[in-house]
């Protein structure tokens, strides 16, 4: 707390509390929107870099940009769910497994059981949300760390994948492929149905987090859980709800992934929780909870997606460079965040 001079006489005390308002510069540096801006700027610079480097290889096509949404729509949805959890001060490691499970579950019901897709979709979403609810319930009611409970979730859902089938199930159902191929033209290019859905999810998440009491409770619980409880907020319900949201988003991401890849496989989306968490962190959300924006998560996902497409355009680089680049970026952003939070504190 820097600008805090106290006056000893009673007459001055009111102005004294006034002078405690932080300075402008400190405010800018302490502004919680700054990390999002940094990520957006990074994305812009990387994109411009791509434009200049690969301008003769078709990178200038607007569709390259739109493909980022198409190819990473499922990741965006999963990352939005994770954003809720991380904002509340928790963590969800089960995301990748729930996605994988949803692809298997959907493929199995549609292909092997012959259920219509329209019936399967709500079932899959319900299972994901219920899984999240259960994890939240255990985390809240038995006070077990989220890390370990969602780890159990990770094992459980991946195991259930294998219980359904050890082999991959490809989907040939016509309703799936027609849905997957549906495109929405934007004039400069097109977006897939999955990309549109992911953007809708993003918009809803933004509204919920900033314009509903539930959203503010998520921030409050992430800021100080004990306080939230003593302030009379239903902190337990909020926590359970947050994991339910994450489970729901993971299942939805799983459905989008199924559309994208048109198969179910017990090993689908292995480790995607890491990508989702990385996207959230790169998007400027503090892992300690209580600070961050879901819009930042969008930029986080876009940056990760852009790395993948840049490596594709480079051609000579192998796929593992994606992992290394993600790691390096993660590292850079963690250090930046660290630097900014220390500035805020002093």
């Amino acid at each position: 707390m820097s600008a805090t001079t106290k006056s000893p006489t009673a007459s001055d005390s009111r102005t004294a509390s006034g002078s405690r308002t932080p300075s402008k510069a400190a405010r800018l540096l302490g502004d919680r929107r700054l990390p999002v801006a940094v990520t957006a700027l990074l994305f812009l610079l990387m994109y411009l870099g791509g434009l200049t480097r690969y301008q003769n290889f078709g990178f200038t096509e607007p569709q390259v940009f739109l493909n980022l949404f198409i190819d990473n729509g499922y990741l965006l949805v999963a990352a939005v769910g994770v954003t809720f959890v991380i904002l509340s001060g928790g963590i969800d490691l089960s995301v990748g497994s729930v996605i994988g499970f949803t692809t298997m579950f959907t493929a199995w019901l549609v292909e092997r059981q012959g259920l219509p897709l329209l019936v399967v979709i709500p079932m899959a979403l319900a299972v994901g949300a219920f899984g999240g609810f259960l994890m939240g319930y255990v985390i809240h009611n038995f006070e077990i760390q989220p890390f370990i409970v969602t780890l159990a979730g990770l094992f459980l859902f991946r195991g259930l994948c294998l219980v359904i089938s050890k082999e991959s199930i490809s989907i040939s159902d016509s309703s799936v492929s027609s849905m997957a191929e549906r495109q929405v033209s934007l004039g400069i290019g097109f977006l897939s149905l999955g990309a549109i859905i992911s953007l809708v999810v993003l918009a809803v998440a933004f509204y919920v987090l900033h314009y509903t009491r539930f959203g503010r409770r998520v921030y409050a619980v992430g800021g100080n859980e004990q306080s939230a409880l003593l302030m009379g907020l239903p902190q337990g319900g909020t926590k359970i709800a947050v994991y339910t949201v994450s489970g729901f988003c993971s299942a939805l991401a799983g459905l989008l992934f199924t559309l994208y890849i048109q198969s179910g496989d017990p090993l689908h989306a292995t480790g995607m929780e890491l990508d989702a968490i990385a996207a959230v962190v790169i998007g400027g959300t503090l892992l300690t909870g209580g600070s961050g924006y879901v819009l930042g998560t969008l930029f986080g996902v876009l940056v990760l997606g852009l790395i993948k497409s840049l490596i594709q355009f480079e051609g000579t680089l192998s796929s593992w460079w994606t992992k290394i680049a993600t790691g390096v970026l993660l590292c850079a952003f963690i250090l930046i965040q660290r630097f900014m939070t220390t500035r805020r504190k002093t």
Binding site: M1, S2, T4, T5, K6, S7, P8, T9, A10, S13, R14, T15, A16, S17, G18, R20, T21, P22, A26, R27, G30, R32, H210, Y211, T212, R213, R216, R217, Y219, A220, G222, G223, N224, Q226, S227, A228, L229, L230, M231, G232, L233, P234, G290, S291, R344, T346
Partner: protein
């Protein structure tokens, strides 16, 4: 029928924790339009009673009647809805949210489920202004110091009870203030008191807990005294003088503290132990010069936030100074980390016992040897026999209870925890012992013991830097009194018969010593 009907009546309250009966058959009543003090030593059951009333702890027996209706309160939310608002000792707000949100969260004005941000900010600003506070409600709470955060907490608790507050609650009938003044300075306390009186006039029943007896006598009408989880009595404040109150609280007569009164009157002349020149830290304390002689007790006086703790932390290397130098016994010490200071024979007991002192999971023994072990490094453990002997010696010398070195330190009472911390440092045989509010939040018996200890340590040649909120305590113990104001060390006054609390207060107020 002389008395009006109480707004709140608790009868035969019982609360048990595993192995302990924290409250047994306690009655408590609260009338509308009164300020009621809940008195008792640590462990008397004050906090438990409040937590039962606010639904944090479930009730094990007894009844609660609110406004003539029997109620069962099972959660803080329910308590709030029933019209019982609480402000706790610690600021229980969310530092990451704005001031306005902290005031209104959980009852934000909404339309069709959508939060009306403009309305929310306007209402918050009005409320804050009406209470005479100048706070930017749009700024994050974390950008304000703790004292302001405390005021915001009080504003929040009133949010439902005022006409401008909005919200759907029935209005605050009972306002519980659990040690709200412990982190406020005098002006802020006055501001709070003014507010409390206004609310009292509006018919709100206020339950007030404070360790400061003077504050109780200044603002309260009635008091209930608890001891060891049982009700000792309910009295009108004007009918019970301070001595009587303390006797009720302790269950024994006073006098332990008086013995000390005349002991430390003359300033001390020994060789210089510590000399700080131009030591300072931006945002902490302005550069100061300070000399501490061997066997001298230096007391620091000043308001909360005047830089007392900051000065102590600089002398210990807990914060890094950005100017000046320190020499101990003539040798310059870098003071960039606590290790440097510890190596030079400085010890520091933080005012935050729990967050900066104890390792609650470890045993009493482990906590006691920690500092000595740290200075030896991990490769040279203290031999078992020597360790046990040292620990046993200090448990006995300081009368730590339970006298079990295997007990988990987190389960000890505040006073005993403080003694464990003292033992931890005494075992290292420091040359300078810094005690930052060692007597805060502990019972009067332990307080007296710690003060006696300071005197005897000083007689044995150890220098002590003593920080306490109560000026009398500082005056009683110190050879020299350092006065701080606005994060500056403004005067160093040799103690003597002519030095009184008033003189010190004048120095704090004027910023100079004539």
């Amino acid at each position: 029928m002389a008395e009006p009907r109480p707004v709140l009546e608790m009868a035969g309250i019982v609360k048990e924790f595993p192995g302990v009966r924290a409250l047994s058959d306690v009655d408590f009543r609260l009338f509308p339009g009164e300020i009621h003090a809940l008195m008792g030593e640590n462990g008397a059951g004050k906090s438990t009673l409040i937590k039962v009333l606010t639904g944090v702890h479930p009730l094990d027996g007894g009844t609660i009647t609110l406004d003539g209706r029997s109620v069962r309160i099972t959660s803080p939310l329910q308590a709030q809805q029933a019209g019982i608002s609480t402000v706790y000792q610690e600021v229980n707000l969310c530092p990451n949210l704005s001031v306005a949100e902290n005031i209104f969260i959980g009852r934000e004005p909404t339309r069709m489920g959508r939060i009306q941000w403009k309305q929310l900010r306007r209402q918050a600003a009005e409320l804050v202004e009406r209470l005479g506070l100048d706070i930017d409600v749009g700024a994050p709470l974390s950008s304000y110091p703790l004292a302001v955060q405390q005021l915001v907490a009080i504003v929040r608790s009133l949010g439902t009870g005022t006409s401008t507050g909005g919200g759907e609650g029935p209005g605050t009938k009972v306002l519980i203030l659990d040690e709200p003044t412990s982190s406020l300075d005098r002006d802020e306390v006055l501001q709070l008191f003014a507010l409390m009186r206004r609310l009292k006039d509006e018919g709100v029943a206020i339950l007030f807990v404070s360790h400061f007896l003077d504050q109780i006598y200044e603002v309260c009408d009635r008091m209930t005294v608890l001891r060891n989880g049982t009700l000792v009595g309910e009295h009108m404040v004007r009918d019970l003088d301070q001595v009587g109150l303390v006797q009720l609280m302790l269950g024994k007569a006073m006098g332990q503290l008086d013995e000390l009164h005349d002991q430390q009157l003359h300033s001390h002349a020994g060789e210089t132990l510590v000399r700080a020149e131009g030591l300072g830290r931006t945002g902490g304390i302005a550069p100061f010069d300070l000399e501490i002689r061997k066997g001298e007790v230096i007391g620091l006086a000043g308001l909360l936030g005047s830089g007392r703790t900051e000065l102590a932390r600089l002398l210990f290397g807990a914060d890094q100074p950005d100017s000046g130098k320190v020499s101990i016994e003539g040798r310059q010490v870098s003071m960039s980390a606590p290790n440097d200071a510890i190596g030079a024979g400085v010890a520091f007991c933080s005012e935050n016992r729990k967050s900066e002192g104890l390792v609650p999971d470890l045993t009493v023994r482990e906590n006691i040897i920690l500092a000595l072990q740290a200075s030896r490094g991990w490769t040279r453990p203290i031999p078992v026999a020597q360790r046990d002997e040292l620990v046993a010696k200090y448990i006995k010398a300081l009368d730590i209870r339970p006298a079990n070195p295997e007990a988990r330190v987190g389960q000890l009472s505040g006073g005993n925890q403080q003694k464990v911390l003292l033992a931890r440092w005494l075992i290292t045989q420091p040359k300078l012992l810094i005690l930052d509010e060692p007597t805060r939040g502990i019972d009067i018996g332990a307080k007296a013991e710690i003060q006696k200890l300071v005197v005897s340590l000083s007689e044995d040649g150890m220098s002590v830097l003593y920080i306490a909120a109560e000026l009398e305590e500082v005056l009683r113990l110190s050879h020299t009194i350092g006065v701080l104001r606005d994060r500056r060390l403004v005067a160093q006054i040799p103690n003597g018969p002519e030095i009184t609390t008033t003189r010190i207060l004048e120095t704090i107020a004027s910023g100079e010593h004539q």
